[in-house]
């Protein structure tokens, strides 16, 4: 970090000064991270760099002698409830990470909402949980609790099982896309794994090409297929053609009464199975 005339002095021996007190395993775990690579000249522990003080600021006052009863001068601490202002915390990180993450961060949704880097990232740990697929969601759900609830629903993407991360779809460092999506829009993001839905199909289902979220809730649902409502109600929210699309599918269609193919099994999809689009020349009704 560049020296600043208004700043207090740096310590005399750098990290060796800090280790006189801070020598526990949790603190020393930083040496298992990229921040402590002596062979990387950009690393805080690279040759000529400021070591601990690269992130925690000049520490001469903090490391100096204090009188009995006098409070030891604080140095910047990185935590969500730290007394160090978030902007100051992030300034330390962005100063080095300007070129990669920092550029995207400035003005992003998380930046505007005054999150600190350390709200998500844990620096003094060998494997940062937010950078590991299996543990990332646990970090994100610390704030996004509503999404955690949804992820526990019976039909959901495998986030709970640790096979998908939030970053599979979202870019938390900020982007120009809506809801920080990883691709240009919702559908383009979904097609990353569900390219079979992309088409273009000979017979398209109009709302499908606009927004997968029109029918699906990607964070989780009580309904199979992560549908936002149970079929046929979902389908009947838009389809009212004379005949079977207009008929209420109530208890009369249950097996104990007159079992209805419009209600049971796959409901409308018993026949109109190709709801995402059909490439069959006779498939205009999305049946084949």
């Amino acid at each position: 970090r560049a020296a600043d005339g208004d700043m207090p002095d740096y310590s005399r021996k750098g990290a060796d000064t800090c280790f006189q007190c801070h020598d526990d395993q949790a603190m020393l775990a930083v040496f298992r991270t990229k921040h402590a690579r002596p062979d990387d000249p950009r690393s805080p522990f690279g040759h000529g760099q400021l070591q601990c003080e690269a992130c925690h600021g000049p520490g001469d006052d903090h490391a100096g002698r204090v009188r009995r009863g006098q409070e030891r001068p604080a140095i910047p601490a990185f935590a969500s409830n730290s007394t160090t202002p978030v902007e100051d915390q992030n300034a330390y990180c962005v100063e080095c990470h300007q070129a990669d993450t920092g550029m995207a961060w400035h003005g992003s949704t998380h930046d505007v909402n005054t999150l600190s880097c350390s709200d998500c990232h844990t620096m003094h740990i060998e494997r940062d949980p937010v950078l590991t697929t299996a543990t990332q969601a646990e970090v994100c759900f610390g704030c996004h609790q509503q999404q955690r609830t949804q992820s526990m629903k019976p039909y959901a993407h495998p986030v709970r099982q640790g096979k998908m991360a939030c970053t599979s779809c979202h870019n938390p460092h900020g982007d120009t896309t809506e809801r920080l999506l990883a691709r240009s829009n919702v559908n383009a993001t979904c097609y990353d794994c569900h390219a079979e839905m992309r088409g273009p199909f000979l017979w398209e289902h109009a709302p499908v090409v606009e927004d997968c979220n029109g029918c699906h809730n990607p964070h989780g649902s009580n309904q199979p297929g992560m549908l936002s409502m149970r079929a046929p109600m979902l389908c009947q929210s838009c389809h009212s053609q004379a005949g079977h699309p207009s008929i209420p599918q109530d208890e009369r269609g249950l097996p104990a009464n007159v079992p209805s193919a419009l209600l049971l099994g796959q409901s409308c999809m018993n026949c109109h199975d190709q709801v995402h689009g059909s490439n069959h020349p006779s498939g205009s009704k999305l049946m084949r």
């Binding site: 003005g107 697929t133 838009c238 026949c271 199975d273 995402h276 490439n279 020349p281």
Partner: protein, 679 residues
């Protein structure tokens, strides 16, 4: 202050060096078969599973090699390998599998293990209804419904430590297995195992130029999908004429999409202004061979084209500006544009209805296109050090073709208060409203599609929305207990929709409490509720509304756990319990059926996970894991194969399982693991 670091020898620094690893090997016994328990985990069958997990690192002369292994003995395995040279360049390789296990209670008369066609079993007796299929019971054979996704990643970067950075990533996803599809004729349908054999190759590559105040990235994206099965044919088990005894449907066609994008940010040295931009053009094509109109040799004209020649152009651009013209004032503006131009040729097609009739009416395909713009502007002002107020306005416009609504505009306003009297207390309250209007709901388009002219499709209709959210968090610096909670509501009113969705109300609430009992023990309790109520109306007389329905969806989640990880001491333990309860009620009120309700759709998941380890020495530890899951589902839609007279289902049964997976193992640490300061 100036600083001279030449004397900062870092003599005590315990830099990472040599080889180090932590590897676990063990065995797990699963108490019962349960497809859903094995969904995404690989533990779908009763029995013993061997497993291997771990990670390791090797440092040498400035190079670092990392590897990780996860569930190597299971079908949910993952392996990763990366090497980098102090940030100068890096290469990474990854392999992972995701098992999707849907049903293990399904049975079918179609016994083909793979391929693109289904034939009836020998001795099959066709009938007009499933109840009259005399050979049905004896012909049903178990068929697992599920698939496996394999993902291979390979990529790297080169950062020459000047102003440029290069990167490239290649990913291959394959997905194979069996899904459920439904093949229909005129008034009958058969649920069929559908063979999946997909491959998707994706490339992301780019170069970034970085300067002190700006960065620009030029990126290429390509996605190439192929499906080895062009179609799926099946012999219908229902009574049919000889010409229509074999039916055929199309499968998802091969397609590809490429996109070039230019994005960047500029930090303006004035008012802390940041300008971000994106411009991307893409093109997708689909030119897979088309199936004939029908497999009936007596019908079907020649296709006007052997393939669709489908082509879609996309255009995206965006601009975001954030600025702080005053110390207390922050402003933000953004505009996003998203266009899908479907240039697929429009052709008149001669549909053959259920392989029996020529429709006699040429049907042109409808390649849908749209463009949409979204402008937002917001300001935030710090009234006091602890109180900030924000307000925003958003404008959306959507243009479509070939649909009932050509132009749709949404105006939204919102306000927010954020109160942070101290660093450990944060309260945020936001509320807003939006109006989505349409230029005209063109009922001539609706009528041409056979719709009731009173229907208003919910994605096209006029909508008024109100919403509000309150989020609070309390994390005292000196206290071991922290608390956070949130409440959200959203109320949608489709005031001009006589038929279709009339309205919906969404409610969410969460509450979390955590307690750091000591440096090594941590306890948490979490609760969440998510609900969505929807009202809709329909008309079975194809006139004014004569029925209404109410869809009430609830989900409650409770989580609790304890973690004990002492820095000293051999035992560590983590216990997590979770309960999720989903409930859907559907009520109808109609002229023909009166007031009635369908049985509740209900799901209950109880899950307990225990992870423990005991260190015998610095290197060797014993591990124990227990995963208990009990899941019950009530779903009236899942019926036996012959429950519906005109649909032969696969008879999937509602989930009802109770499974314990208990495992033991050993964990061994290689290399130097204790981090000790150098002498």
């Amino acid at each position: 202050a100036e600083v001279d670091t030449s004397e900062w020898a870092c003599e005590a620094c315990p830099f990472d060096d040599g080889y180090r690893a932590k590897v676990s090997a063990g065995a797990t016994n699963v108490s019962d078969d349960a497809a859903r328990f094995g969904n995404y985990t690989g533990y779908d069958e009763e029995g013993a599973y061997g497993n291997l997990d771990g990670y390791g690192r090797y440092n040498k002369d400035g190079y670092r090699l990392d590897y990780s292994m996860e569930n190597l003995g299971l079908e949910s395995r993952a392996f990763g390998l990366s090497i980098d040279s102090a940030g100068l360049f890096g290469l990474n390789f990854g392999y992972r599998e995701i098992p999707f296990r849907r049903f293990d209670t399904t049975r079918t008369i179609f016994a083909q293990p793979t391929g693109d066609s289904h034939t009836l079993p020998s001795g099959w007796v066709a009938a007009g209804t499933t109840g009259a299929m005399t050979a049905l019971a004896s012909s049903l054979q178990p068929r697992l419904i599920g698939s496996d996704r394999q993902i291979i990643d390979f990529g790297g970067f080169y950062d020459p430590r000047n102003d440029f950075r290069f990167y490239a990533d290649f990913r291959r996803q394959t997905k194979d297995g069996v899904d459920i599809t439904s093949g229909s004729s005129y008034a009958q349908a058969s649920h069929l195992p559908r063979f999946i054999d997909y491959e998707t190759n994706t490339v992301d590559a780019g170069v970034q130029y970085r300067a002190e105040t700006f960065s620009v990235t030029l990126a290429l994206y390509g996605s190439f999908f192929s499906n080895k099965n062009l179609g799926l044919s099946w012999e219908t088990p229902f009574t049919a004429t000889p010409e229509t005894s074999v039916l055929r449907m199309a499968q998802q066609p091969d397609n590809h999409f490429q996109q070039v994008s230019l994005s960047g940010k500029y930090l303006v040295n004035h008012w802390d202004t940041v300008v971000a931009f994106l411009a991307a053009v893409g093109q997708g094509e689909q030119d897979d061979a088309l199936l004939p109109y029908t497999s009936n040799p007596d019908l079907g004209a020649a296709l006007p084209s052997s393939s669709l020649n489908g082509k879609v152009d996309t255009l995206n651009y965006a601009l975001t500006v954030t600025s702080r013209p005053l110390e207390k004032l922050r402003a933000r503006f953004s505009y996003r544009y998203d266009e899908r131009d479907n240039g697929t040729p429009v052709t008149a097609w001669s549909r053959v209805i259920v392989d029996l009739l020529d429709s006699g009416q040429p049907e042109p395909n409808a390649p849908y296109s749209y463009d949409r713009g979204h402008a937002t502007t917001s300001v935030e002002y710090a009234l006091r050090d602890d109180l900030r107020v924000s307000a925003g306005y958003e404008y959306r416009q959507m243009n479509r073709d070939l649909q009932e609504v050509a132009e749709q505009t949404t105006n939204e306003g919102w306000g927010q208060l954020r109160w942070q009297p101290v660093a450990w207390f944060d309260l945020r309250a936001k509320g807003g409203a939006s109006t989505r209007g349409v230029d005209r709901y063109d009922t001539t388009v609706a009528v041409s599609l056979g719709q009731n002219p009173l229907m208003r499709k919910y994605n096209l209709a006029y909508r008024y929305r109100e919403y509000g959210e309150v989020v609070a968090s309390i994390m005292p610096l000196e206290s071991p207990v922290s608390f956070s909670a949130s409440v959200l509501f959203a109320d949608d009113d489709y005031k001009e929709s006589l038929l279709g969705l009339n309205g919906s109300e969404e409610f969410r609430a969460t509450a979390d409490v955590s307690w750091a009992v000591s440096d090594s023990a941590f306890v948490y309790l979490a609760y969440g509720r998510d609900s969505l109520d929807a009202h809709q109306a329909g008309s079975e007389q194809f006139g004014f509304w004569d029925w209404s329905a109410f869809h009430e969806d609830r989900f409650d989640h409770l989580g609790a756990g304890v973690s004990y990880r002492p820095t000293e001491g051999p035992l560590s333990l983590r216990v997590d319990y979770s309960r999720g309860n989903g409930d859907t009620k559907i009520e109808y009120d109609s002229l023909s059926g009166g007031r009635n309700s369908l049985p509740e759709l209900e799901s209950t998941l109880d899950s307990l996970r225990v992870e423990a380890s005991y260190d015998f020495s610095e290197r060797l530890a014993a591990t124990f894991s227990l995963r208990y899951e009990k899941f019950e589902l009530q779903d009236w839609a899942l019926v036996s194969p012959a429950a519906l007279p005109n649909v032969l289902t696969l008879g999937a049964q509602p989930y009802d399982y109770d499974v314990v997976a208990a495992g033991i193992g050993i964990r061994y640490r290689f290399g130097e693991n204790e981090i000790t300061l150098a002498e």
